[in-house]
């Protein structure tokens, strides 16, 4: 079976397709997130003793933190596709992904700070991970700021795509620098974060919630992309032929009546 990918790279065919997919993603998102949290809250109670109850924050924290990083990768993917094939839709998806990525980063930071308060007794600890997410937030905000500062759509698409690529190249270096401020001793850090050490029961809840967050991200990204498509293609005929744009008969005749009385 051959799928014509370029057909879907056109905003015109993307718009209705995305419209159909969004409700499905919403249903999946709500079910998976509720399911994951239900599992986490009710099926793992016996594993955690009272001192470890705060572990429940992890479901939302880890899911949002993963999404914050993954969405950056997704954004760079679209940006790169845009720069290589010069497809307008790729740029639109890149900028639609950025905002959801920012929201996820903020959630990760906020829940991380609360997690810190419960486990280390302080909201902010300049922990390498939290710091990296703070910088990721700066990078996301820089991307959005650059995009909104440029009026010309084409330039703003390309310039922000290039910035996303530069960020991709530098974020690992920044991560390394934050992780090992002393280059001679950094191997010892962050062994505890590996998944193996997490109880498998908790892991299930975490993975299901994360999957739900993916669905949420798809849904919001597509919603935003649809808005961007509408804004950019407003002067085309296919947009004005859309059912949601068509002027209802009643309002039309009202206008006619109004113009008549005026003249």
């Amino acid at each position: 079976m051959k799928i014509n990918w370029f057909k879907y790279s056109a905003p015109m065919s993307f718009y209705p397709l995305a419209g159909k997919l969004i409700p499905l993603f919403w249903i999946a998102a709500i079910m998976l997130i509720l399911g994951g949290l239900y599992w986490g809250f009710f099926k793992t109670a016996d594993i955690l003793n009272d001192q470890k109850q705060y572990y429940r924050i992890i479901y939302v924290h880890v899911a949002s933190a993963w999404m914050a990083m993954w969405l950056y990768a997704v954004m760079v993917f679209w940006a790169m596709l845009g720069l290589i094939f010069n497809t307008r839709l790729s740029y639109m998806l890149a900028s639609a992904t950025a905002v959801t990525g920012t929201v996820m980063t903020i959630i990760a930071l906020a829940t991380g700070a609360i997690w810190g308060k419960t486990s280390w007794g302080t909201y902010w600890d300049w922990d390498p991970k939290l710091t990296t997410f703070l910088i990721l937030l700066f990078v996301y905000i820089g991307y959005i700021a650059l995009q909104s500062a440029i009026d010309d759509v084409r330039r703003s698409d390309k310039a922000s795509a290039l910035l996303a690529l530069v960020g991709l190249a530098l974020v690992p270096i920044i991560y390394y620098a934050v992780n090992c401020p002393d280059p001679t001793q950094c191997a010892s850090l962050h062994q505890e974060s590996s998944l193996k050490r997490v109880e498998s029961n908790i892991l299930i809840g975490m993975l299901v919630t994360t999957l739900g967050f993916w669905m949420y991200s798809f849904a919001t990204t597509l919603m935003r992309a649809r808005i961007i498509v509408l804004e950019r293609e407003r002067s085309t005929t296919w947009v004005s032929n859309l059912p949601e744009i068509s002027l209802a008969e009643t309002s039309n005749s009202k206008i006619e009546a109004r113009t008549e009385t005026r003249s």
């Binding site: 700066f138 700021a145 650059l146 500062a149 290039l162 910035l163 530069v166 620098a177 401020p181 001679t184």
Partner: protein, 223 residues
């Protein structure tokens, strides 16, 4: 090939010579920022010594972003940037010439003035030399990365603030290892070599890649 490089380098230095005030503005900004810290946090020798590496680097980051805004925008406004882009030689090399000139005019003076500031903060002699050296190998990264942001924000309203927003987070590795090297140099018996090597690596990487990325960014911004 090299003629455009030499021409642009010479031209930018000549222009700076005609307008010396711009160099001195950046330099004095650096000095003023560094002088304000002791007034804010107290003048105790211990505290100052401990703070000096970070303060010097942060002042250097701010001073270098301050000057970035003018890196390409002056040429953009009078049309000479188009001349450079349309010159039949490698745009990356031309861009490299511009960044090099920018570093010679804003980075190098900071390196040269830094011993004075070392004295403000009671740094030992060895640390002052270390500071000069790491500033010397670290500040080119600031100009190189900054050039990308300057090219991306070319001709935008409020471009100066935007440049800082884009570029300051990217400076973190240089800040971490640059300040780390100076701090380590005050501890006897610990080698600063790893820091220096990392800074050198950043410097070389940025010199290789930045002119190329900046050239691409300029082409996007000129459209």
């Amino acid at each position: 090939m090299t003629s455009a490089f030499g021409t642009i380098l010479k031209r930018d230095l000549l222009l700076a010579l005609r307008r010396r005030s711009e160099i001195f503005t950046v330099l004095f900004f650096f000095i003023v920022v560094i002088s304000l810290f002791p007034l804010g946090v107290g003048t105790e020798e211990k505290i100052l010594q401990q703070m000096a590496p970070g303060v010097v680097w942060i002042a250097a980051l701010l001073a270098s972003t301050l000057a970035l805004d003018r890196l390409f925008s002056a040429d953009y406004e009078d049309g000479t940037l188009e001349k450079i882009v349309l010159s039949p030689s490698s745009l990356s090399m031309s861009v490299f010439a511009k960044i090099l000139a920018h570093w010679l005019l804003t980075g190098l003076p900071l390196v040269l003035i830094s011993p004075l500031l070392g004295l403000f903060y009671h740094l030992p002699m060895d640390s002052i030399f270390v500071m000069m050296f790491v500033l010397f190998i670290g500040t080119p990264v600031l100009s190189m990365l900054g050039a990308i942001a300057a090219a991306l924000t070319l001709g935008l309203r409020g471009g100066g603030v935007l440049v800082s927003l884009l570029v300051l987070p990217l400076y973190i590795p240089v800040l971490v290892y640059g300040a780390g090297a100076i701090s380590t140099s005050m501890i006897t018996g610990v080698s600063i070599e790893p820091y220096v090597l990392l800074l050198l690596a950043f410097s070389l990487l940025s010199i290789v890649f930045s002119p190329w990325v900046t050239a691409a960014a300029l082409k996007i911004s000129l459209e």
